[in-house]
């Protein structure tokens, strides 16, 4: 089996995770304020609420993508030589993008949501000026360019080291020409697949962003709203899914350090990742199931691929982890617990997502709180849990680590808070409570208030994770 042969860029990645951890905490606090406002526990003006909502969406997607990118870069750089300066440029562009986005919201009162659904950025009803919308779009483009550079650097190194795209995707293992022992490690296969679909997604996203930007200043440059919607949801779906697929690399690489058993690229693993590569790109019409002008075949494909997407996750990644854990004598600590939680949360969260991907169910659930319900499960208890697990790993040695009481408490509080918080979304969705409403009816507020309390628990847990990380990077140096 191919073993790590390079020193990863530890300090750069530790700094990146520190930034991401701080942003995650800040965005969680914004989320708490939004739920408290919906529950009438505090008063927030509607315009401010929608600005906070835009910041929360963009900030969470940004922070999740940053942690995913850091995880992928860290582990890929153990197998191939990556030019560190490329990541520095990526991070710089990312931070400039964040500045533009924050400026557009705080100074320009931009509040069209992170999905910038055309033509809302241009038609604000007097809530924000064209310049604010332009700043937001430019911010997203800067972040996208940074991601493209990073993806190209990793992609070209994987292609040259592992004998082409097919080699890095372990296709010779599928065809039986290469034994699993000689296959690229799972981290490489997952990274290659993710880089391909995320690059395509970002290019499509950049095209619709630039079109929207031109339309802001030249309204006669018209963009077809249906085409724009397709492009935005293709980009949005691929990008947010890529964050999870990048983060799961941490599970493939770290868990074996805790068990002493290698995680190999088997034939089924290679098939699963090639399927994921196709499914992630083909599934996006499930975001347009209520646009009845869409061709029926596209919406039917969205429903079917939505279901199929669950198969590689549940029967390969989740199943393999469960099989792998049994009798493994794994050493539990904060890192290993959070990484396993991350895969569990992702797997559980995919259930309400698949059910909502059915056209007939979507007709009564789409854009209710059911939607934030399922995506908060596989982000809060999935991707973000994996990221916190990676942070815990960065500051401790797997072999000597202990699951201390403070860590157990933080883990329990975060898990309980996450379950309660997301459950309230699902219950509200089943009660037809619309998502993205600044003002809630009296009869919806009980769930809002309970969710606020659970959100507080999540923040307490996350605060301890980040505080332990800050103390850890000051005192621990990985050998």
């Amino acid at each position: 089996m191919i073993k790590p042969s390079h020193e990863p860029h530890s300090n750069l990645i530790k700094f990146t995770m520190l930034l991401a951890g701080a942003v995650l905490l800040l965005m969680m606090i914004i989320g708490l304020l939004m739920r408290a406002a919906q529950g009438d526990l505090i008063e927030i003006d509607a315009a401010i609420f929608y600005q906070l909502m835009t910041a929360h969406g963009a900030g969470m997607v940004g922070a999740a993508s940053l942690t995913g990118a850091a995880i992928m870069w860290y582990f890929v750089s153990r197998y191939v030589h990556l030019v560190q300066e490329v990541f520095v440029v990526f991070l710089t562009l990312f931070l400039f993008g964040v500045l533009f986005i924050l400026g557009s919201i705080s100074l320009g009162q931009f509040g069209a949501g992170w999905t910038f659904l055309f033509p809302l950025p241009a038609i604000s009803g007097g809530a924000w000026e064209t310049g604010a919308a332009a700043a937001f779009i430019i911010g997203l483009i800067l972040i996208g360019v940074g991601f493209l550079l990073m993806n190209l650097e990793i992609g070209r190194k994987l292609i040259s080291t592992f004998d082409g795209i097919g080699g890095a995707l372990a296709w010779p293992v599928i065809s039986g020409k290469v034994a699993p022992d000689d296959a690229p490690p799972p981290a490489i296969v997952a990274s290659m697949a993710t880089i391909i679909f995320n690059t395509i997604g970002i290019v499509v996203g950049a095209a619709v962003l630039v079109s929207s930007l031109i339309n802001l200043y030249v309204p006669s440059f018209e963009v077809d709203a249906l085409l724009a919607k397709n492009m935005i949801y293709f980009f949005g779906h691929v990008f947010i899914n890529a964050t999870i697929y990048m983060a799961v690399v941490a599970v493939y690489e770290i868990i074996p350090e805790y068990t002493g058993k290698p995680w190999k690229t088997s034939r089924i693993f290679a098939i699963a990742w090639s399927a994921i590569l196709l499914f992630v790109m083909a599934v996006y019409p499930h975001h347009l199931l209520q646009d009845t002008v869409m061709p029926a075949w596209a919406l039917i494909m969205g429903q079917i691929v939505s279901y199929l997407s669950g198969i590689p996750l549940l029967t390969v990644t989740a199943f393999s982890l469960c099989v792998y854990l049994r009798g493994s004598n794994i050493k539990w600590d904060l890192a290993s617990a959070l990484l396993v939680l991350g895969v569990a949360g992702w797997s559980v969260g995919v259930v309400p997502a698949i059910i909502d991907g059915m056209i007939s169910v979507n007709k009564i659930m789409h854009n209710t709180q059911w939607v934030p319900g399922h995506f908060h499960i596989y982000l809060l208890l999935g991707e973000v849990a994996m990221s916190f697990g990676f942070m815990a790993y960065l500051i401790k040695e797997a072999k000597s680590s202990e699951f201390q009481m403070i860590d157990k408490t933080a883990f329990g509080v975060y898990l309980a808070g996450g379950i309660g918080f997301t459950l309230m979304f699902l219950v509200s969705g089943a009660m037809s409570v619309p998502r993205r409403w600044a003002v809630h009816a009296e009869e919806w507020m009980l769930q809002d208030r309970i969710a606020t309390a659970f959100a507080l628990l999540v923040i307490v847990g996350a605060l301890i994770f980040v505080a332990r990380y800050i103390i850890g990077i000051a005192t621990y140096r990985r050998t």
């Binding site: 854990l325 056209i359 037809s432 993205r436 009816a441």
Partner: protein, 179 residues
């Protein structure tokens, strides 16, 4: 229907969670059955799960798509309503529709994307469709209970998105206004 969806989802989520909980509990076990490389049984079980998911998927797909959920019946009895979304109000060209007869909503917008969601008097979402610039989305529904129904916006459309609410009536028999 929504409560069935919630119950089914929570049951399946619990089922998936149990897999992880049992694996975590068994992680300390000295039983080596977890070693994927030495025991064929996990691979056999995996194949069974994959085929089971395919089989269930085929059944669910056929059952749920046998009649395409967005079918417009083109019935001669269908009542047509034109619904226009705009920041931040709805315009509906009929205030009343008839009970037990198909109603076709022709939904469009004069500015940005909106989402037309129809709630019954219990606040339950009956159906929805999007309103998109340059297009007319059609959705058909047969109302089986008379009363007041609300139209709300389900696609974020700006600062007064939550204020886009209007009503219409479903009546058992069309009233003659000249009576």
């Amino acid at each position: 229907m929504q409560l069935y969806v919630l119950a089914l989802s929570l049951s399946l989520m619990g089922f998936v969670s149990l897999f992880f909980i049992s694996a975590v509990l068994a992680s300390r076990s000295v039983d080596a059955s977890g070693s994927e490389s030495v025991s064929p049984s996990p691979e056999v079980r995996r194949k069974k799960y994959i085929w089971a998911m395919f089989f269930i998927g085929i059944i669910v797909t056929f059952a749920s798509l046998w009649r395409y959920p967005h079918t417009i019946s083109n019935s001669t009895q269908a009542q047509a309503i034109n619904v226009t979304g705009a920041q931040w109000y709805w315009e509906i060209d009929k205030e009343e529709v008839l009970l037990n007869k198909p109603v076709v909503f022709n939904v469009h917008t004069t500015d940005v994307n909106h989402g037309m969601g129809v709630l019954n008097s219990d606040g339950k979402l009956m159906f929805q469709t999007q309103a998109m610039p340059g297009y007319v989305n059609k959705v058909e529904h047969v109302f089986t209970k008379p009363g007041e129904y609300k139209v709300i916006c389900l696609e974020f459309c700006g600062v007064s998105h939550h204020d886009m609410i209007t009503e219409f009536q479903v009546v058992a028999k069309k009233e003659n206004k000249n009576d």
